[in-house]
């Protein structure tokens, strides 16, 4: 459905994107994951025809996004990262306005947004500016869907949104995917990676890896361990000094450790005990997307 082929883009001295290639088949939910400044917004803007690449091509539903940008504009639903609707218009007015921008009516495509809009209907006359973050998100999604697009492009739709609303939002995306809509979404939250069919890890304009979350973590090539103890910070400092370890990072309540080769755990226990860490639990673990991303970043 979308093919990004060797795309590069510079802003003056800054390389925003370096030779990025991605392909997203029809009906897939693809997540672009990376921190601020990684190039997510730049790539998405190119897909939706707002920016031109320095080199490389992007096709959308078989059409080139540069020469045939009108086709893209008719068939894409886009939610920019800054999208915050018209704050001074009501929920209903916003929706009706966007429907007319896309030369359609709310009635015609109501079935597509019925689920989501149903939750907003009690507040139809409230101004968008007075909605909660989660509700704004839902309304923005409705506005992006109102013309029945083939593809949804959502730039960081869940940033700054609380955990409950984020979860609801992903539920909605899942339902939309089931209706055959291809979805391209970006996020800085690693825990959302697992909710995508496939993901791309973007850092400093480079696509570090792409594939399904399972495939991506499968080729993590180092032994990975978790260490748990009561006082993780002194332990972290102690572990960093050990030469056989590759990296040590805090990871929730645990510390995640990568090693150059398989560790002799009993020996490590003994060494740590000697240094005064007697309550350390050490065990090998399966890597997550976050472990891999951090590994690739170094």
């Amino acid at each position: 459905m979308i093919t990004v082929d060797h795309i590069s883009k510079r802003y003056g001295p800054v390389e925003a994107l370096k030779d990025v290639s991605i392909s997203v088949p029809r009906g897939e939910l693809f997540g672009l994951i990376g921190p601020d400044g990684a190039g997510k917004t730049t790539l998405f803007r190119m897909v939706v025809t707002l920016l031109l690449a320095d080199s490389g091509t992007i096709t959308f539903d078989g059409h080139d996004v540069v020469s045939d940008y009108r086709h893209v504009r008719r068939n894409v639903g886009y939610m920019p990262g800054t999208f915050s609707l018209y704050q001074d218009l009501s929920v209903r007015e916003n929706l009706e306005f966007f429907a007319s921008v896309f030369q359609t009516t709310v009635k015609k495509n109501y079935d597509l947004i019925a689920d989501i809009y149903g939750m907003l209907e009690p507040f139809a006359d409230r101004r968008a500016g007075a909605l909660s973050g989660g509700m704004k998100q839902k309304l923005a999604l409705c506005c992006a869907l109102i013309h029945k697009p083939l593809v949804l492009v959502l730039d960081e739709p869940t940033t700054g949104v609380d955990a409950v609303s984020r979860r609801e939002f992903w539920e909605m995306l899942k339902k939309l995917k089931a209706q055959g809509i291809t979805i391209l979404v970006s996020t800085p939250y690693m825990d959302e990676a697992a909710l995508c069919d496939r993901i791309g890890l973007l850092q400093d304009g480079k696509l570090l890896r792409s594939g399904s979350p399972q495939d991506i973590t499968a080729n993590f090539d180092r032994p990975l361990y978790a260490a748990i103890c009561k006082e993780p910070y002194p332990l972290l400092l102690a572990l960093r000094k050990l030469p056989e370890l590759d990296s040590v990072f805090p990871f929730g309540t645990a510390l995640h450790i990568t090693a150059k080769e398989q560790l002799d755990l009993p020996a490590l226990h003994k060494e740590l005990a000697r240094q005064g860490f007697s309550d350390v639990e050490l065990q090998p673990i399966e890597p997550g997307v976050e472990d891999l991303f951090m590994h690739l970043m170094q």
Binding site: D36, G134, G160, A163, L236, P250
Partner: protein
């Protein structure tokens, strides 16, 4: 935690007209503790935090921060805490050094002492080659770490962090938390809000506000056990999905 109590609140309440933004919350945070302050948008998090740092007068209840009363001694509170706002609180058009000097001056750090602290700060963050670089050309992650260190320039006993890691990359986020750990190890109280639920696990204790009320407050491990779930994200979801009100 056994350290002295540095942040204390009892039945702390803030009403705006008929709306109760913060409804009688109780809170005791100890020296050296990393305290996570979580809640959905509109749960009353920001309001509660503003009362604690002396920016907003409570309607009822009591609160003492660093031993000072929030009603009568807000100036003393402001002098004895550090604060790092959402996203970024430094000046982009000033250099690293100018930013440090400015904040050092604001908090009245003596010049000789400021120079010593500046040197060690620059050394710790590995910014030696960039002291004369304007902030706008530094990566976001570096800026966040610098903002934290600058907020600590007057060596406060308590630091308040409002969503300090938004948008920052994975490794920098960890480095940021290591700065927090280091501060805590020196006995500094860290009061932090975040949207990343996995970060709640880094805290010694975490509280979750729902509809202006403190719905839970315990160690992450105890909270997860209480709700019989594996992650803080689940704990949060269980509590916050019943929320009635929004922003």
């Amino acid at each position: 935690m056994t350290g002295a109590i540095t942040i204390h609140a009892k039945a702390l309440t803030k009403r705006f007209g008929a709306f109760t933004a913060v409804d009688a919350i109780d809170l005791d945070v100890h020296a050296g503790e990393i305290f996570g302050f979580l809640g959905a948008n509109g749960a009353g998090k920001t309001t509660a935090m503003k009362m604690l740092i002396g920016l907003l007068m409570p309607t009822a209840g009591e609160a003492r921060v660093a031993g000072y009363d929030v009603y009568t001694q807000s100036e003393a509170i402001k002098r004895s805490i550090g604060y790092m706002g959402q996203r970024f609180s430094l000046y982009n058009d000033l250099t690293v050094l100018e930013n440090i000097q400015f904040y050092g001056g604001v908090y009245g750090v003596p010049p000789a002492e400021l120079k010593r602290r500046t040197d060690s700060l620059v050394h710790d963050l590995g910014l030696k080659e960039h002291v004369n670089t304007r902030l706008q050309s530094l990566p976001l992650g570096w800026k966040q770490k610098l903002a934290f260190s600058v907020a600590m320039i007057h060596e406060p006993k308590i630091i308040f962090l409002d969503e300090p890691t938004g948008g920052v990359d994975l490794i920098t986020r960890r480095q940021f938390w290591e700065l927090i750990y280091a501060a805590s190890a020196k006995g500094v109280t860290v009061f932090v809000t975040t949207h990343y639920m996995d970060e709640a696990e880094y805290c010694h204790r975490a509280s979750i506000m729902v509809d202006g009320v403190m719905a839970a407050c315990d160690t992450p491990a105890a909270l997860k056990e209480q709700f019989k779930v594996k992650t803080m994200d689940e704990v949060f979801y269980q509590l916050a999905r019943s929320a009635q009100r929004a922003e």
